[in-house]
């Protein structure tokens, strides 16, 4: 019966989280290509047409591959529950490189320690930074993918730098303001002075 095969392909599309080609599905399941195609056809019919109004999921063809995903109507809310593909620590290193670029790896080691070596390896493999030999160390810069990824409207290091510092300062001020507003709420007698955020901003520039 083909029911079992449909279920198998479905479980694969679900668990992979990224588009899969017919070949990949075939390799993993050991099913002949014809069966894989039939199963996908069946699943697309079931998800996208028969049960269209009874599910928030769909199976779509992306290039030569297939993926199970959340329908567009629901993506806004559902997106944020997934974990980000770049871990926080790695993201910190990336932000540091983007700000200081072009920057020597050895300098970064002084800033954040030994973990820079592993981080650079990972960021290079994600195509987010370039690493070029530079004497005994490496010179690091962000790639073209970097601004694309974050929707930053510039490829120039200087502008990226400005963008980051401006945004961060905005961010800090916002945070501090919120904090302040809370404090003011709590102790209503407290008045105008905002020393912390200001000095903080200056230090960062």
């Amino acid at each position: 019966m083909s029911i079992k095969e449909n279920r198998l392909v479905e479980s694969l599309l679900f668990s992979s989280g990224k588009p899969l080609s017919i070949e990949e599905i075939q390799e993993t399941t050991g099913l002949p290509p014809k069966k894989v195609n039939e199963a996908i056809e069946h699943l697309m019919q079931s998800y996208n047409i028969d049960r269209k109004n009874d599910t928030s999921l769909e199976i779509v063809k992306a290039g030569n591959k297939f993926i199970m995903q959340v329908k567009k109507t629901f993506t806004d809310k559902s997106m944020m529950v997934a974990k980000p593909e770049i871990k926080t620590d790695l993201l910190k290193t990336l932000a540091l490189i983007a700000f200081h670029q072009p920057v020597k790896q050895s300098n970064l080691r002084h800033m954040i320690g030994e973990r820079i070596y592993a981080d650079v390896d990972q960021l290079v493999s994600l195509h987010l930074i370039h690493s070029e030999p530079h004497g005994a160390t490496e010179m690091l810069t962000t790639t073209r993918l970097f601004p694309e990824y974050f929707g930053i409207d510039s490829t120039k290091p200087k502008e990226i730098r400005e963008f980051l510092s401006m945004k961060v300062i905005g961010h800090v001020v916002e945070e501090k303001q919120e904090e302040l507003a809370k404090k003011e709420e709590d102790a209503s007698e407290e008045s105008d002075d905002t020393p912390v955020s200001e000095s903080h901003m200056k230090k960062d520039e």
């Binding site: 593909e85 993201l91 932000a95 540091l96």
Partner: protein
């Protein structure tokens, strides 16, 4: 069909032993079921779960099993076959078997016995501290569980398959990461400076103490070599014995002194679970 009095007696016996309310009502249910099974009222039982219970007792009765001496595995196997014919799902069937196991306290003799012999061979050097202070071995359930887990090929825990889901990082997240890393970097540089100063002091002291000894020249080199070796381990977590030639006393001492230095320099953490001869575990700081 005659109601097998042994079954009822057995249940009553355990009813008297069990004081928890939950189990009490459960046993009452079983009693009802057993009676139903005996009087052939099966048709009135529609709930599949109840029906499973009925079947379980039906089986005990029809096979004329002695409830005081039930072969758990034999019973379970027969029951499962029956359950399949009646199209009960396996999950319910599994539950029933488990309950039967608990309620009837069936003694899976051959399972326990075969494991008892193995357990005795486990430890040769038995000392006073080996006498269990907690009665975890005394209870049949716990004993069988432990032994079963250790002898079965799989584990009772399976890792479920979930979606590998990640999403793109948002700009806001990049910005807050930047904000955090600047603060961290400042702190790191401050600490690093302190560490460097301390290191210079330490080195001066060490030079004074070791003046004239052969170690003086090599210490730094040794530390560097050992650090290099440590860095070759991908996950940044390793054992002392992975790091040196265990049969060479000199290499052992060299490595040991070096890891003390590296720990002092906060490049690694070192811990040992069994003092003084246990394995020394080394973790590099900054990986993970």
């Amino acid at each position: 069909m005659e109601l097998d009095n042994d079954v009822i007696n057995h249940l009553l016996f355990h009813k008297a032993l069990i004081d928890e309310h939950n189990d009490m009502s459960r046993i009452n249910q079983y009693l009802e079921m057993a009676k139903a099974a005996a009087t052939g009222e099966s048709a009135s039982i529609e709930n599949p779960f109840d029906r499973s219970i009925y079947l379980a007792f039906d089986l005990v009765l029809n096979q004329h099993m002695n409830p005081w001496d039930i072969d758990l595995v034999g019973f379970s196997t027969m029951y499962l076959k029956r359950a399949k014919k009646e199209k009960l799902d396996l999950l319910t069937a599994g539950k029933i078997i488990y309950m039967a196991w608990k309620v009837l306290r069936m003694q899976s003799d051959h399972l326990v016995v075969s494991m008892e012999t193995q357990d005795l061979e486990l430890d040769q050097g038995v000392g006073w501290e080996d006498i269990p202070t907690v009665p975890w071995l005394a209870n049949d359930d716990e004993y069988s569980y432990t032994n079963l887990v250790m002898t079965m090929p799989q584990s009772p825990l399976d890792e479920p398959l979930r979606r590998e889901s990640t999403r793109k990082v948002t700009l806001i997240e990049l910005l807050s990461a930047f904000d955090e890393v600047r603060k961290e970097s400042e702190q790191y540089q401050l600490l690093d400076q302190l560490r460097k100063e301390e290191r210079v002091l330490l080195r001066q002291k060490a030079r004074k103490a070791m003046r004239g000894s052969a170690h003086e020249d090599h210490l730094e080199e040794d530390v560097a070599t050992v650090w290099e070796r440590i860095c070759q381990f991908p996950k940044g977590s390793l054992n002392f014995s992975d790091l040196c030639q265990v049969d060479s006393v000199e290499d052992r001492i060299k490595t040991f002194v070096s890891i003390l230095f590296l720990a002092y320099e906060r490049k690694i953490t070192v811990h040992q679970r069994k003092f003084p001869y246990g394995e020394i575990f080394i973790k590099t700081i900054g990986y993970t």
